[in-house]
Every structure is written in structure tokens, then in C-alpha cells.
């Protein structure tokens, strides 16, 4: 359920890159022109534009964007223009090297991507940072968080639909026993959450609720201040209903209650071609107000225009 809107017929990458070049020329920058091009091209089209720009003007489009734009507008534009795997690699690198316990960006990337997508991110990470993602995460995290995050970002989950109900039952019980004992970072808990396929986990969480009455996340709320429990809940939420988890991140970001203002930028850039429409729907039903309205209220100028464009708003 993407929100990105691409016109039926678009100019060639060559024409697009010439328009962008025009937008950079002279005094100031024509931000609206940039938005009208880049915010209405999909990943493959943006890649083609970048290649044409490099061939024509001898430099990376991103470099020009870096020089000609600033602030939140620049940040979103740069993230958006990148290929999804490069984008995730950069976000992951930032999250790993500046990691702290309340940072859940790595969990977002690890759990809200398919197995193949996550592998492509790991490959892009090699190219960009000359190290593996897992070695950076392992080196910058410790204790329980390392125990959880390293297998999480190294996961290559089976993507078939088969579910073993017997296993789902036994692993639901296992999780329940560990949670009751407050053994939240037990190896078995981590094993189940980081290696089982997503359909298998969904079945396990359903069994959990059927057998024990509470949704598993409810039982993981014993200490609202515990960052590790929050991390576990994030893993489960992102596996089951990523749009609900991401809506909350967006909501907190707009209320400036979240721990990072860049969350809105990150989620718009990473989900506009995925499920931003679903996130919008959750937002509307949760807050009784369309996301666009909250964005208009809380953001300004070109950043606001870019966000609205990526949210699929008609041009005014």
C-alpha cells in the first residue's frame, strides 16, 4: 500500500536530470521543481536519474542535493533519493555506531524487511562501509541487547507459508514460561524470536493468546521503563503489524514526544513505496485526524511539501 504517486507518462531520466540541474542553477534552489520530479519517481526511476545525472554532469546527484538544500528537507531528500538497500544500510550504520538502549531503528530494519531485502541491505553495507553490518552491531552493543540485535539483523528467515502448529504450541508455552520467570533475555526467547519464520511466529503468538489469555506484548509490559522489554515488544509488533508500530513512531515524532525528530523523515522515506498508506489509515483511526493534517500543523515549508508529496497528496 504505497503512497508514492508517479504520473502515467514521465520524462526520460535524461530530461529529469536536466530539470534537476536547472533547479540547482543560479541563485537559490527551485525546491518545488525538485519535489515535482524526485517525489514522483519510484526507486528504479530515481536510480536511472542518478546514473544519467552522473553521466551528464560528472557528479553524484546526491552531492548536488547536499549543497543546494538544507535542514530536514535535505535529510529527507537524500534518504528518499537513495536506493532502498543503500538507505537502510546508512540508517543501520547510524543506528549501530550511535547506538543507545532506546534506539530501535535496527529492530525496524531487521523486522520490517523481507529476508531477501535484509540480505540486500547487508550486501549494500559491505560496499558502503567495508565491514559487515553484524560486526558493527556486535561491536557497538553489549549484554542483552547484543544478544538480541546481532541474531536479529543476521536473520535469514524462511519465507514459506508452512506452519508447524505443534511447534507453535510448544514455543508459545516456552515463551510464556520464560516471561513468567522474568527471563526476558533467555537464549530460548531470543532463539524463537530471531530464527523462526514470520508465519510461524504469528501462529506462535496466536497460540500464546489462546492458551494464556493475554497477548504476549501485554505480558511484556511489566516495567514500562525497561528498554529491553520495549525492544522485545517492538520486535513482536513489527513482525505482526508493522503499520501499527510505525504509526506510533510517527505519532510520537509529530508530538515531539519521541526520542528522535528524524523518525518522521525515516518512516516516510522507507515506507512511501511499501505501506505508508496503511500507516496513514491507522493514524486516521487512532487520532481521528488525517496524517496530512498533523503534518501540515507540525512541519513547514519545503520539508512539509516533500512529506505531503510522498504521502500522496495532490499538488495544491
Amino acid at each position: 500500500m504505497a503512497t508514492l504517486t508517479v504520473p502515467h507518462s514521465i520524462p526520460s531520466p535524461q530530461e529529469d536530470c536536466e530539470q534537476l540541474h536547472k533547479a540547482f542553477e543560479g541563485w537559490g534552489t527551485n525546491e518545488n521543481l525538485i519535489i515535482s520530479v524526485l517525489a514522483h519517481r519510484n526507486a528504479a526511476q530515481r536510480k536511472a536519474i542518478r546514473q544519467a545525472y552522473q553521466a551528464t554532469y560528472g557528479k553524484d546527484l546526491l552531492e548536488s542535493l547536499l549543497h543546494e538544500t538544507h535542514g530536514d528537507f535535505e535529510k529527507l531528500l537524500l534518504l528518499w533519493t537513495l536506493e532502498p538497500s543503500e538507505r537502510d544500510a546508512i540508517l543501520a550504520n547510524e543506528a549501530a555506531t550511535k547506538w543507545h538502549a532506546a534506539n530501535r531503528v535496527l529492530i525496524e530494519i531487521a523486522c520490517a524487511r523481507s529476508s531477501e531485502e535484509l540480505f540486500i541491505v547487508r550486501r549494500a553495507y559491505h560496499t558502503q562501509f567495508k565491514r559487515s553490518l553484524e560486526e558493527d552491531v556486535a561491536a557497538h552493543t553489549k549484554g542483552d541487547f547484543r544478544k538480541l540485535l546481532v541474531p536479529l539483523i543476521s536473520a535469514y528467515r524462511y519465507e514459506g507459508a508452512e506452519v508447524n502448529m505443534h511447534l507453535a504450541k510448544s514455543e508459545a508455552k516456552l515463551l510464556h514460561d520464560k516471561i513468567s520467570d522474568k527471563a526476558y533475555s533467555d537464549e530460548e526467547v531470543i532463539r524463537v524470536l530471531t530464527t523462526r519464520s514470520k508465519p510461524q511466529l504469528l501462529a506462535t503468538f496466536n497460540q500464546y493468546k489462546n492458551e494464556f489469555g493475554n497477548a504476549i506484548n501485554k505480558d511484556l509490559k511489566s516495567d514500562p521503563k525497561d528498554d529491553f522489554l520495549a525492544a522485545l515488544r517492538a520486535v513482536i509488533r513489527l513482525i505482526c503489524t508493522p503499520e501499527k508500530y510505525l504509526e506510533k513512531v510517527v505519532r510520537l515524532s509529530l508530538n515531539k514526544m519521541g526520542t528522535e525528530e528524524t523518525a518522521l523523515t525515516r518512516i516516510v522515506a522507507t515506507r512511501a513505496e511499501v505501506d505508508l498508506k496503511l500507516i496513514k489509515e491507522v493514524y486516521q483511526s487512532r487520532n481521528s485526524v488525517p496524517l496530512e493534517k498533523a503534518v501540515k500543523h507540525d512541519t513547514h515549508r519545503h520539508y512539509e511539501d516533500l512529506v505531503l508529496a510522498l504521502l500522496g497528496c495532490e499538488e495544491n
Partner: protein, 313 residues
């Protein structure tokens, strides 16, 4: 006649060695046509595998099992030869969980294949068995070394030339501290050791091991003591040719067990197209005898011929 008996015994793997000598067997069938007495005499002569009960020489069950294994060596090597390398690796890893292959096979595959080859093997595993290899290893191997094995099998190591030398030095020291502070039985569960061995690139680790020796006066394998899995991990990453050459030698040793012998096929098949020349050289340097000579001396029939072709002589 005694000579004929000896040569047929040998053909039926009665004097040890790998495989059976198909050509000799068929020649004997021709030679002893319509001569049941000859065969009777042979059976009585072959007392290891036939026991006389009354007026017949009965075949021992052990011998039948032994023959099954030896006849299958050629079949196994040919089927494996045909298979895609990723499928081979996937099946071998699956055998660790389901056919009691030793855990070192997982270390071998996870550490001696390139990152892309390991990814291919994992994809093949999912296609064959409807599970990821990580979930199977984590689920079936509950011993204390599962952390290491899961880490190794999940890795997607950087393969470029860049190495942070300062970090390699630092981690050589960190490994030494970890080894000193953990009890010897607990080394394999130590988080720092597992982290470094299962996430760093191979070039980085080679540099780290080199620094370790320079800083602490001895190679890290010595300090890892009796920890077989950690030793194998280091060897597979640092000097895979040595690891493979030793695996081959173990297969030929007197009293080698079933798994050690199976390893001969696995090593030769999996390395034939990769680094067999290096392994041959290493084998000669380590054991003073040519690999092809060991094969000729200790194996029979089609199995021997296929090994010799794969080894490149």
C-alpha cells in the same frame, strides 16, 4: 588359488581401505564360473566375514553392513559430484541435525565457503527443508556451543581488502583477556570470542591471529586448549588447506571411525574445484607423502579412480 583368494578378499574390502574393486570382482565371477567349490574355499578362507555353521559358511551381519558402506562410497561420490555445490552444503548441514554428522561439519561449511557460497547454501537449505538453517541449528543443537554455531552460520562476512589494523590488534588483546578470564570449559560461550570469530571478516581475523602470536608469544590455537570447536573455527578461517589436509589424513588413519572416513569424500568433492592444488601441497608438506599415493594405496575400484581424477592426477 591362495593368490586369487587374497585378491578377491581385497576386492571385497576385506583388507581395509575405502571402496570395492569392481573390476576384480567381475573378473572372478568369470573365472569361477560353475565352480562352487572355489567359492566355498574362498568363504572358508575369509574367516573375518564368514562363520562356518554346520556345512555352510554364513555371512556375518557386520560384514554385510561393512559391504553396504564400501559399495556406496562410489555411488555417494558420483551423486555428490553431480549436485549443485549449494545443495551439497545444505544437505551436509542437514545431516548434522538429522544424521549425527559431527558439529564440525557446520563449522567447516560456515567458515571455508565464501560469503556468497554460504548464502547460496542457506537458500538451498530453505528450498529443500522448509526451514532456515539458523532455526534448525538453534533448535536442534542445544549444547553450549550452539551460540558459536548459530553465529557462524548466520554470518555474511565482508570480503573486501580493507582491514582496521588497530582494531585487529585490540581484538587480539581482547581475545587473550577473554581466554584468560573464562574457565576453559566456558570459552566457547564467551561473548567476545563468539562475537569476534563469527562477525569479523576473514582478512581481519587473519590479521588478528597474527597480532595474537606477536603479542602473546604463541598462536591462539595453543591458548584455546582442548576446545575442539574453537580450534577448528580458527583453523578453517586462517588456514583452510591445513584443516582439509588434516581431515583427509584422519580418514586414512588406522582405526578411523565412520565419520572420519565419510569426510574423505566430502573434502575431495567440495574442494576439487576450489583449492585442491593447495591442499595437495599442504598435505605433502605436513605428512611427507603425496596425496595421490595415499589414495592409490588405500582405496579401491571406481571410488579410487574418481578420487584420483578429482584430486587432479
Amino acid at each position: 588359488m591362495a593368490d586369487e583368494n587374497q585378491s578377491l578378499k581385497k576386492a571385497f574390502s576385506g583388507h581395509g581401505g575405502f571402496g570395492v574393486d569392481e573390476a576384480t570382482m567381475v573378473a572372478m565371477v568369470t573365472k569361477w564360473r560353475r565352480q562352487p567349490d572355489q567359492k566355498s574355499c574362498f568363504r572358508r578362507d575369509f574367516s573375518d566375514f564368514f562363520t562356518t555353521i554346520g556345512s555352510i559358511e554364513k555371512c556375518e551381519d557386520d560384514y554385510l553392513l561393512h559391504l553396504k558402506t564400501e559399495f556406496s562410497r562410489f555411488k555417494n561420490i558420483m551423486v555428490l559430484w553431480l549436485m549443485h555445490p549449494w545443495e551439497r552444503d545444505a544437505r551436509w548441514m542437514h545431516h548434522v541435525m538429522h544424521k549425527s554428522y559431527p558439529f564440525t561439519v557446520i563449522i567447516e561449511i560456515a567458515c571455508t565457503r565464501s560469503s556468497e557460497e554460504l548464502l547460496g547454501a542457506k537458500r538451498a537449505y530453505q528450498a529443500l527443508f522448509d526451514h532456515s538453517v539458523e532455526e534448525d541449528v538453534a533448535y536442534h543443537i542445544k549444547e553450549n556451543y550452539s551460540k558459536l554455531l548459530v553465529g557462524l552460520v548466520s554470518s555474511f562476512r565482508y570480503e573486501g581488502p580493507q582491514v582496521d589494523n588497530e582494531m585487529a590488534k585490540w581484538e587480539a588483546k581482547a581475545l587473550n583477556s577473554a581466554i584468560k578470564s573464562a574457565g576453559s570449559g566456558k570459552l566457547i560461550q564467551n561473548e567476545e570470542i563468539v562475537r569476534i570469530l563469527s562477525t569479523r571478516s576473514k582478512l581481519h581475523l587473519k590479521a588478528t591471529f597474527k597480532h595474537y602470536k606477536e603479542l602473546h608469544g604463541k598462536p591462539i590455537e595453543e591458548d584455546l586448549g582442548a576446545n575442539l570447536w574453537l580450534q577448528e573455527t580458527v583453523k578453517c578461517i586462517d588456514r583452510p588447506a591445513k584443516y582439509f589436509s588434516e581431515a583427509i589424513n584422519n580418514a586414512f588413519k588406522e582405526g578411523a571411525d565412520k565419520q572420519s572416513k565419510i569426510a574423505l569424500t566430502r573434502v575431495i568433492i567440495s574442494r576439487a574445484d576450489v583449492d585442491m592444488e593447495v591442499i595437495r601441497e599442504t598435505y605433502y608438506q605436513q605428512f611427507g607423502v603425496k596425496l595421490e599415493d595415499m589414495i592409490t594405496k588405500n582405496t579401491h575400484g571406481h571410488y579410487k579412480d574418481s578420487l584420483l581424477s578429482l584430486v587432479g592426477k
